[in-house]
Symmetry: C2
Subunit: 420 residues, 2 copies
């Protein structure tokens, strides 16, 4: 415990440096396709720490071997992954500390300061990506730096991954897997608000096109209104949601009324009040259990639409078209009793003097990629407030960054072990 | 009957002239707001015929006295009405021959020739407005010209109206009423395909906004999906349509499965697959019985929406907003036994040697304006194919124009009477 005390003190000594590092990361406007400069800065910091640093661009073509991985672009030339490896002395377990450098667009929202200000005020750091997730990246980095500066030799390897493309599906983390980086556990320091998430759900978008038959509105009965027929499909999806509520229960999601919702977020049909619409299009999101594969979930929805179609003579002759488009995040989970989870829980208690909430993440992260494609037990835990992410005036509490750094650093010690 | 024979022969002699006149009208691209040149050409033709000609611009402000009349623009400076008056010698009944010069936009549709070509080929004249309704305007004009050229002196007055703004609701015909033009009957030579329509239905557009409550799609149950709530309103409107099918039956519309449809032609809700939409908007058209006022019909729809809202706890607290926008055509009808109707029926039989179809018009025309606001018994009858109107490659059959000219000319003789 003296070693952990030394680590905590070291982190307190570096408090101003951690704040400045986080603020500096914010000053890079690392929206997707523009991550390079921020990544090179991170890589340079890892080099100074004594890590072996690997900088490489994801390759869309080879990433396609991962079934259901969402790849939304072909060109990663300005979006390198950065991996820093600190080899252990042997005899300990290896760990990945994962964060992503891409941020969602700042947008033309109502920002009080520039989204790239990195302004420090009242115990907060402001800017796009503070919570999601440059604060987490800083926590990972300083968790390792504190150990090194304290002169502690770890037995297991530490792999620090700063990836790209998390916000649209995980190509960056998958590319690091493809590159050969693996470990006996992983921590993703996403903004869980210091909750411990051993699971994240999957989700995906769908589009359903329902046909009608055009007619003039004065003799509307001569047509078939696609809006009306789409309602049949809508109702079938809500029924499926109810069935899945019973069949896809997951212990880490029991706190949610409906863990894996099916939401219709967009509906459009027709373009003229006095014409009968010959097409209606619904777009929505389907939540996927961490224990369920994307293809299993897709089949359930497709079957439900097919069954609903069979109940209606028009739709059965004009079957709806289902497209899986835009977004698809794979989910994944480990047991909450897994040692890496219990490691975080224990160190959280030691640092914060209270039990953390342990549950499933309410959103997708790269944990699904690491667990499903990499077979790496992964826990999501980090500083930052999920509700401020993706919003104007995003911020992070400095105190959370410091505490998360301590929890992660102590967890590394427990996991990788160290030489006395 | 010798007089009618003389008229028919005169019209046959003028066949080439009638074709050329119609084709020349097509060469004016008289879309709304651009009717002036076509109208001045028509006015000039009426002057040459010996009519007193009145050219005047509708005035949006004074037209507002007509309740429920749709006025979609403030500026009529390039859209004059033209009225030609041929005074009778006295002792006969007066008649209005009404047509409109505005045409719907040519659009960027797949026209084989220019929409303004007026091309004559294979017994047809082609171009925007041939059927709707410059062919009818030519029939009105030559019906009167044939009488004048045959040297016949009519006892009743003939008022030839070439109006603007029919396609968006009737401001032009209403302006002629306001100007003082009235008669004991009216013929509107819209493209009925030589059917006799003593009635036209009304119709109007509505927009209904249904509120929801936004939420993230992952926890969709925390929101209220406006698309789903809008379905309740949709179903209430279809139920109302069913009720009206029973209660608003009209003898001239008994051939239609549902005479006065309620059609939802446009539905849009939400803009993101993984968000719960907080608003859904439906736009539609409500058919109105010729015997029903616009305000009566509106009240029925508003009551139905209110009753549906009461059945749902969310909607009752967040009542849908109903807007009556865009289009509103008043309907109107005369008995099919009315003398002006029987006059047309008889002369149609004499010219074509077959009974005409007599029914209610499947669309709105200015007949509603003449009947409701002007109290003028009106029948709709003319050459041209309704199904080709508003489409690319619109055309009219020359033979129909000639026959309609004969029917209308003979009907004038029977109605206005003439000096032997």
């Amino acid at each position: 415990m003296d070693v952990k005390k030394a680590i905590d003190e070291k982190i307190e000594q570096m408090r101003e440096e951690i704040i400045e590092f986080t603020s500096n990361l914010i000053k890079f406007p690392s929206e997707q396709g523009k991550e390079k400069n921020a990544q090179l800065f991170f890589a340079d910091s890892l080099k100074k720490l004594g890590c072996q640093v690997d900088i490489f661009n994801p390759d869309a073509e080879t990433l396609r071997k991962y079934e259901d991985l969402m790849i939304t672009r072909e060109d990663f030339c300005k979006s390198p992954d950065v991996v820093g490896l600190l080899k252990g002395t042997g005899g300990g377990k290896s760990i990945i500390l994962n964060s992503h450098m891409d941020v969602v667009p700042a947008g033309d929202q109502d920002w009080k300061e520039s989204p790239w200000s990195g302004k420090i005020e009242n115990g907060k750091i402001f800017g796009r990506g503070t919570s999601d997730m440059k604060g987490g990246a800083a926590a990972n980095f300083y968790a390792l730096k504190a150990i090194i500066e304290a002169g502690i030799k770890l037995k297991g390897d530490v792999i620090v991954e700063s990836v790209v493309d998390e916000e649209t599906g995980g190509a960056g983390t998958a590319a690091a897997l493809l590159r050969g980086y693996t470990a006996e556990a992983a921590i993703i320091s996403e903004p869980t608000d210091m909750k411990v998430y051993p699971a994240c759900m999957g989700s995906m978008w769908f589009r359903i096109k329902v046909k009608g038959k055009a007619a003039h509105g004065a003799t509307a009965y001569m047509g078939v209104n696609a809006i009306e027929k789409a309602q049949i499909i809508y109702n079938a999806l809500k029924k499926l949601e109810g069935v899945r509520k019973e069949t896809k229960n997951h212990s880490l999601y029991s706190h949610l009324e409906i863990p894996f919702c099916i939401n219709i977020g967009k509906f459009s049909g027709g373009n003229w009040p006095s014409s009968v619409p010959d097409e209606a299009v619904m777009e929505g999101r389907m939540g996927v259990s961490p224990d369920e594969s994307i293809s299993e979930a897709r089949k359930e929805l497709e079957d439900a639409v097919r069954d609903a179609a069979a109940s209606d003579s028009w739709i059965s002759k004009n079957p709806p078209k289902i497209e899986w488009f835009g977004s698809c995040w794979v989910g994944g989970a480990v047991s909450k009793d897994h040692p890496i989870v219990q490691n975080i829980v224990r160190n959280h208690f030691d640092v914060l003097r209270r039990e953390p909430v342990v549950s499933g993440a309410p959103w997708a992260t790269d944990a699904g990629v690491l667990i499903r494609y990499g077979n790496i037990p992964t826990v999501i835990y980090g500083p930052g407030i999920g509700s401020t992410a993706h919003q104007a005036n995003e911020y992070i509490l400095i105190e959370d960054v410091i505490k998360a750094t301590k929890v992660i650093s102590n967890s590394i010690l427990d996991w990788c072990l160290y030489q006395n």
